[in-house]
Symmetry: C2
Subunit: 242 residues, 2 copies
DNA sequence: AAGGCTAATTGAATAGCACTCGATATTATC
DNA sequence: GATAATATCGAGTGCTATTCAATTAGCCTT
């Protein structure tokens, strides 16, 4: 992609500065015009370089956008980790609330980037790269959840990836719903019910309820789960018989 | 778009046949190559017509794909309604299970179409149309949920759109996870835990727990009985299979 | 500091594509 | 069967990402 030889420090610094300029310009143009609407010429002009020069830094328009997205997601990951580090609550549900709040707000505010990320889901070869960055991002949730299980706050038999999908899937859809209902007003107010609901959901469905003492609902939930599984088994067997 | 005058029946039939041929060809090409990868020339060739003719049926490539997607989503909506109509269970959770099962399987099998739908989320003007079709599709869930509330099976204070986002958001993310883990094997087996989890989640989080009448022990006893019966059924069926 | 070598930069030329449009064929109407 | 209306066609148009031969800038040696 870049140079092979090792230029002097000043030269390297210059290249890096130029690369940052390209990335910065590309980000602006992509966000404003979308992938197809963005013109390489305009990106070049904004970065103060020739059109062809971009191609000695990035092989294609798609790869350039991928770099923009990577930078974006890496930033989000750091932010999310900061949020978790700064959170005073030590129990799972308090921390989950903080993460949900941060994530929902982020998804709403950076809707452009999120859309761009999914817009790139066409060229199969490149999808995988951005998938890595998503994985890296959601690892924040994974750590939190596993820690909750270790400390006995969550059911030990809960499946991590299912919980993760519920968390991020629900929040993304909710974000879209919120965006739709209020296009202009970006206050934090309306996000609160969604966050509350998410925490309550995790408490009700994944919260560990010590068996001996337990409230009523808990045991009921456990039994309900058992019923679900059995019902399913019956269906499967019945269909196999017919 | 199409003709303004009213041609004879045979002529109209001919046009409609041709339109279907275009749609059919477009669907194949779009699914195989994605939106950008699809060539109008190839679609025309496959439909057995000239390239320019497409444009007397559809104004642009995007609109052609939109037509394909509309047809797809309309079909899904009908199927989902059929699934609900055919479902024997009358209680909310049984029906929810059927819908979850259908939706998850559909999303996995038709992943191409789902991706295409989101790929089109760039041209704002056209998004709205595909949004209408999504709305129409998810109405199946809405009706089910509201009925559940009416019958007192679900908490009355639950918010419909939040529940909807949780349902479809989680299932979409789960579908992606499932796709990733097993690229070749498309058995129904692995979807079961996700469906079970979803139903259990709704039961735990949205299920109404009759506070007044039933004492703790009663409810537990009822569930326990249900489990016993189901276990018996499983045994019977299993033995009949071997 | 001059010359030579390598790497970086450039923008005009290339190529690929959606879409247009005048010409042609087909159908409808009298 | 003549004529008008409509449908079809595919070679051309215009717009862009991408390439590449020529040019420039940076660095090292003597």
């Amino acid at each position: 992609m870049a140079s092979k030889a090792i230029p002097s420090e000043t030269q390297r610094a210059k290249l890096e500065r130029k690369e940052r300029a390209i990335l910065e310009a590309a980000r602006t143009i992509f966000v404003n015009h979308g992938f197809d609407g963005a013109r390489m010429q305009e990106i070049a002009r904004r970065a103060g370089i020739g059109e062809g020069t971009i191609y000695s830094y990035y092989d294609s328009k798609a790869e350039l956008m991928l770099a923009v997205l990577q930078q974006f997601w890496d930033g989000l990951t750091l932010e999310a980790e900061d949020v978790m580090a700064a959170e005073q609550a030590t129990d799972f549900f308090g921390r989950l609330r903080a993460l949900a709040h941060y994530h929902l707000n982020t998804v709403i505010v950076n809707a452009d980037f999120i859309n761009l990320t999914f817009a790139l889901r066409r060229n199969n070869s490149e999808v995988s790269v951005s998938r890595d960055h998503l994985r890296h991002y959601v690892a924040v949730f994974d750590r939190l959840f596993l820690r909750g299980q270790d400390r006995g706050e969550l059911r030990a038999d809960a499946v991590l990836w299912q919980a993760r999908d519920i968390f991020y899937g629900s929040l993304e859809y909710s974000a879209r719903s919120i965006e739709m209902t209020m296009e202009a007003d970006r206050s934090t107010r309306d996000q609160q019910p969604v966050v509350d609901d998410m925490v309550a959901l995790f408490r009700a469905h994944y919260g560990a309820h010590p068996e001996g003492e337990a409230a009523d609902g808990t045991t009921l939930a456990a039994l309900s789960r058992q019923i679900e599984q059995l019902t399913e088994k019956v269906d499967t067997l019945a269909s196999r018989l017919s």
